[in-house]
């Protein structure tokens, strides 16, 4: 599925800050939205997820305006995970939390339990299935919020800073899940400001700066433009900085 933006303008009431994007194409595959704190990433995230609709311009999913989607339809097609996992848990167990998503979308009961088992296994939460979500560690709560997005198998999935507070094994697990989904043709967008991770795992980037899209395209192409990286106020991958400091050629970017 394709998410397209056309002449988008949005600002919160009584605030100066405006998010602007003239043209943006989100193709199937893995894309990262990067930029410094306050660049407008989270705002654009809510717009793309169809949760904020008071904007000017158009956002379309496969040519259909996002605004016209019924809420269930939107939720089935677009999954979103917010930065703070604690904004969403209310069921008495990890298993029920994931199940709830599917019941909302009227998935048949038999399919439900199969899916829940598979998703919990995928996110390494099978052992905690009967625990209360709030008894999990922050890293596992974060994984659970990702699991709730994965369960309905949405064609488009958006994640706001999924790597924050994840420990190292979980970060690798989540990277692996994203890559796998992208290969299957899902459209995955991940907010991050960690170029080390992006350079190694994500082939496409949307770079935000002061509410504007300052670059959209191949990750490699962005990393090869020092002035753009500087403008975004981000730091090149550590390995690039290290090799440059040593005065030798940085390793080629894989993606």
């Amino acid at each position: 599925m394709q998410l397209k933006i056309h002449n988008l303008r949005f600002s919160y009431p009584q605030q100066q800050f405006t998010v602007k994007a003239d043209h943006l194409d989100l193709q199937p595959g893995l894309t990262a939205m990067i930029g410094e704190n306050g660049a407008g990433k989270s705002t654009l995230f809510k717009l793309l997820g169809g949760l904020v609709t008071t904007h000017q311009g158009k956002i379309t999913v496969d040519q259909q305006p996002l605004k016209d989607f019924l809420k269930t339809e939107r939720a089935r097609k677009i999954g979103l995970a917010f930065q703070d996992p604690d904004d969403q848990f209310f069921n008495s167990s990890v298993k029920k939390e994931v199940e709830w998503e599917l019941r909302q979308l009227k998935v048949p009961a038999k399919k439900q339990s199969e899916t829940v088992t598979a998703v919990l296994k995928e996110t390494n939460l099978s052992q905690q299935a009967q625990q209360n979500p709030y008894d999990l560690s922050l890293s596992d709560r974060k994984l659970l919020s990702i699991a709730t997005v994965l369960a309905p198998n949405p064609q488009i999935a958006l994640f706001d800073e999924p790597m924050i507070a994840l420990d190292w094994p979980s970060q690798q697990l989540v990277s692996h899940i994203f890559t796998k989904l992208a290969k299957r043709g899902h459209t995955i967008l991940v907010i991050s400001h960690n170029l080390d991770w992006v350079a190694q795992n994500v082939p496409q980037v949307i770079v935000m700066g002061r509410g504007k899209v300052i670059f959209a395209g191949k990750t490699r192409d962005f990393l090869h433009q020092p002035t753009l990286v500087k403008k975004s106020n981000l730091l090149l991958p550590k390995v690039t900085r290290l090799t440059m400091a040593l005065g030798i050629n940085p390793p080629q970017y894989r993606l």
């Binding site: 704190n37 922050l138 400001h193 960690n194 730091l235 390995v239 040593l246």
Partner: protein, 280 residues
């Protein structure tokens, strides 16, 4: 610079009510003259519990059963809490909730700890301006703390704590929401501080640069400790992230000339290993 610090943990265990496993198991360590102690480990390692012990908030404010003996410099965080707390600055994991929530401006929030200590308003102004500059908050001084982004709130929480120049700092993952520049500013500042610092973080690269001691924890236990160099070279499990310096050097076969088999963990060591490899 020599640091006059003393850290003693002797068979310390912590259990939370209704938890099946203790959060900290028989934690023992004895160290002197350390400056920055980095605490690393995966989820459920006991890092946050350790921070609460160091801050003296466990068991005083956080419910839990604590056994064993522990002491930082001349104080017991538990028994000497009042005096000890006056010496410490603590940044909790959820930094935005540690802001007072009733100050109207960033400047007022930064002044809060100073006002509590009865410091003169002229001096308060000076100190507030200084920390705001250190943490890149000068342009935000007149804004409401609620209007800041997550990363800015974290910087504000840290700045509000260090404004009193505490002798001991305890910080639980203080940079989790900061962008790369914010992190750079923070760790650069950390290196300059004269306080005794305990910091948990997933930023192993930064810790390898600034820490002189690393504690590696797993499931409530101290698995290994020593300099970042020693720990990362001893403990090579893929379950723990290694600094990029270490990974790069390992890939290139750049070993440190001192022992001919260990890999560098920070830039200074990397240069050394790189030049040794060039020479041979």
């Amino acid at each position: 610079m020599a640091f006059n610090s003393k850290i003693v943990f002797s068979h310390v265990s912590v259990s939370y009510p209704a938890a099946s496993q203790p959060a900290l198991k028989d934690f023992s360590i004895r160290l002197t003259n350390k400056h920055i102690i980095g605490i690393i480990g995966n989820s459920r390692a006991g890092k946050t519990t350790l921070c609460h012990l160091l801050a003296g908030t466990l068991p005083k404010m956080v419910d839990g059963e604590v056994s064993g003996h522990y002491q930082i410099n001349q104080w017991s965080p538990q028994q000497d809490w009042g005096v000890y707390n006056h010496q410490t600055g603590v940044v909790l994991q959820d930094a935005s909730s540690q802001l007072t929530s009733f100050t109207e401006t960033v400047a007022d929030e930064l002044a809060f700890n100073l006002i509590n200590r009865g410091i003169q308003s002229q001096q308060i102004k000076k100190k507030v301006r200084r920390v705001a500059q250190l943490f890149g908050l000068t342009n935000q001084l007149t804004l409401s703390p609620a209007a800041l982004s997550g990363g800015q709130k974290q910087r504000l929480a840290i700045a509000s704590v260090i404004v009193t120049d505490p002798a001991i700092l305890i910080m639980d993952d203080p940079t989790s929401q900061m962008d790369p520049r914010g992190r750079q500013i923070f760790f650069h500042w950390l290196q300059q501080t004269t306080a005794l610092v305990f910091i948990t973080s997933y930023e192993v690269d930064a810790l390898a640069e600034v820490a002189d001691e690393l504690w590696l924890m797993d499931k409530g236990q101290l698995v290994d400790h020593g300099t970042p160099f020693a720990v990362f070279n001893r403990f090579t499990s893929p379950r723990i992230k290694h600094p990029v310096c270490w990974q790069l050097a390992k890939k290139m076969g750049w070993v440190l000339p001192t022992d001919g088999q260990s890999y560098p963990v920070n830039y200074q060591q990397l240069e050394e290993a790189f030049h040794a490899a060039q020479d041979s």
